[in-house]
Amino acid sequence: MELLETINLQKTVQNGDTQENILKGIQLSFQKGKITALIGASGSGKSTFLTILAGLQSVSSGEVLLEGNSLVAMSAEQLRKLRAKEFGYVFQYAHLVPFLTVEEQLHLMLDIAASPLSKQERKQEVHDVLGMIDMLHRQHAYPSILSGGEKQRVAIARAVIHKPKLLFADEPTASLDSKRSMDIMELILKLTKKNDITTLMVTHDEDMLRYADRVIKMNDGKITEDRTV
């Protein structure tokens, strides 16, 4: 069974008097542990597609199945639980909680995901993940004093510390320079492969495609290219 599957996915929005078809019958499936890059021009529908898969937006018609379970049929509370336990998110900006230290950001995510780890195990897990992202020396720092790259590293650690099934990354390197972008992608690769996390990533940056197992190109709400790298 595929981890994630979409069946004839359609998204229509009302724009004034006209109806706009953002997604026009997307039919895709995603395998466990792979990194898929979604590319395409602005307005092609890739971010809408990503946020629908991430349970952040409803569909107009069609189906999204996670391990055979329909996201479309889920209640808001079921979707919230799914997002907390099974999904991780990285956005263009880190969106860290400004009043929490680096280690508290990770503890918060474990709280949200209702992690079964004991207090001591949580401490150890946070310590290990901070070590992996080379941020142990900044564990007590607040986001306001971190650089853009450091913030994004913490955001990635936060997105995977609860070992989700899926990581959704919407242009995670867009606000970073090329050197830092490479570092961030290396980190995503390292963390997701270690925990067998399936990653869906929207990007505009051609250089980032080298980290993907699969590249899907979208244009005007349709899939125009789907290739394995």
Binding site: T51, A54, L56, Q57, R80, K81, L82, R83, A84, K85, F87, Y89, F91, Q92, Y93, A94, H95, L96, V97, P98, F99, L100, E104, H107, L108, M109, D111, I112, A113, Y142, D170
Partner: protein
């Protein structure tokens, strides 16, 4: 994780500013309420200190105590029927002290009763405020008809119409005002029966019928309630402004799967900690103000009134913060993500 406490610890300045505003408004309200209560005491502590019950006035007086003159037969009937009833009269007047200084007083006389000071003929018992004016026990005062009255003692906090009360013997009162009829009869029973020819009013109704008392209290009560309403609006506005700035963060946390209830709990905890500490501090300062206020300032803030006002403030704060909590409930994670970094 206690998000409220962590945020307050990190954003000390922002929360301190908000707390200081709540503190100042609460303190101002407590002080105005204390002054209102103090003025009420100053205006009518003689009546306020009497037990709750039914006050009878002659019905042709139209509930104006100084126009009331109760028929002697009716007075005797009521006093005979109700053992602890008391008939009494109040008239404004003045006395000259030993230094020939004129002192305004409210002359009060009553039938034999524990509710009023009982005075021998030729003597007077004064409110303690006149002691502060230099009057002493044994001093000889002169009333407006040049009759001598010897000060036999002082009564604690007995005022009427902002003047100290001077308790007189019935005979002396009769000599001054030329009547043996009493103005009012108090029966310490709120459900006392109606009596033909007499108006029955409660203690509150009697207080409200006193000239100036109602107008004075209404004005002060209005100021207190305005302050409560203004503070409620300020609470709502400040919490709203603060939370609007954090909408993006709330959206991201909701996207990550944080329960809305956790965010609401965070806001309410912040409100409770912030306003609770500010109100307790303001209450303490108001109490200190009460003890340090000059003797001439009528200030009376009792703990029950303080607790009520504090509770009202907490409820108002809760409503104010809930207005912004509604915003949080409405926030869409996707909208927050698209807004950019927080």
């Amino acid at each position: 994780m206690n998000l409220a406490w962590k945020e307050m610890k990190k954003s000390k300045l922002r929360f301190s500013i908000l707390a200081s505003i709540v503190f100042l408004i609460s303190l101002l309200t407590f002080i105005i309420a204390g002054l209102a209560n103090g003025l009420a005491d100053d205006n009518a502590s003689l009546i306020k200190k009497l037990p709750d019950g039914t006050f009878y006035l002659a019905d042709d007086a139209d509930q104006t105590y100084n126009l009331s003159a109760i028929d002697k037969r009716k007075e005797n009937d009521i006093l005979a029927e109700t053992g602890d009833a008391a008939a009494f009269s109040v008239q404004m007047g003045f006395v000259f002290d030993k230094d020939e200084k004129q002192q305004s007083v409210a002359f009060v006389t009553s039938t034999n009763s524990d509710y009023f000071e009982q005075v021998d003929p030729g003597e007077v018992v004064l409110d303690v405020s006149l002691k502060e004016e230099g009057v002493e026990i044994g001093d000889e005062l002169t009333n407006q008809f040049n009759e001598k009255l010897t000060v036999a003692g002082f009564a604690d906090h007995q005022k009427f119409s902002h003047a100290p009360v001077a308790f007189l013997n019935k005979a002396d009162y009769q000599a001054i005002y030329g009547t043996d009829k009493q103005q009012m009869i108090l029966v310490p029973d709120e459900d006392a029966k109606d009596i033909a020819g007499l108006d029955a009013v409660s203690k509150d109704e009697l207080l409200q019928s006193l000239a100036s008392y109602k107008a004075e209290q209404m004005t002060l009560d209005m100021i207190v309630w305005f302050l409560i309403i203004i503070s409620g609006m300020l609470f709502a506005i400040f919490f709203y402004m603060m939370n609007v700035q954090k909408i993006g963060m709330y959206g991201i946390l909701k996207a990550m799967g944080l329960k809305t209830a956790v965010l609401l709990r965070m806001i309410w905890t912040e409100m409770l900690l912030l306003s609770g500490s500010a109100i307790i501090l303001a209450a303490a300062c108001a109490m200190i103000f009460g003890t340090a206020a000059p003797d001439g300032m009528p200030f009376a803030l009792d703990s029950i009134m303080l607790i009520w006002l504090a509770l009202i403030f907490l409820v108002v704060g809760f409503i104010g913060s809930t207005v912004s909590a509604i915003q949080i409930k409405k926030v869409e994670p996707l909208q927050a993500i698209q807004q950019g970094d927080v």
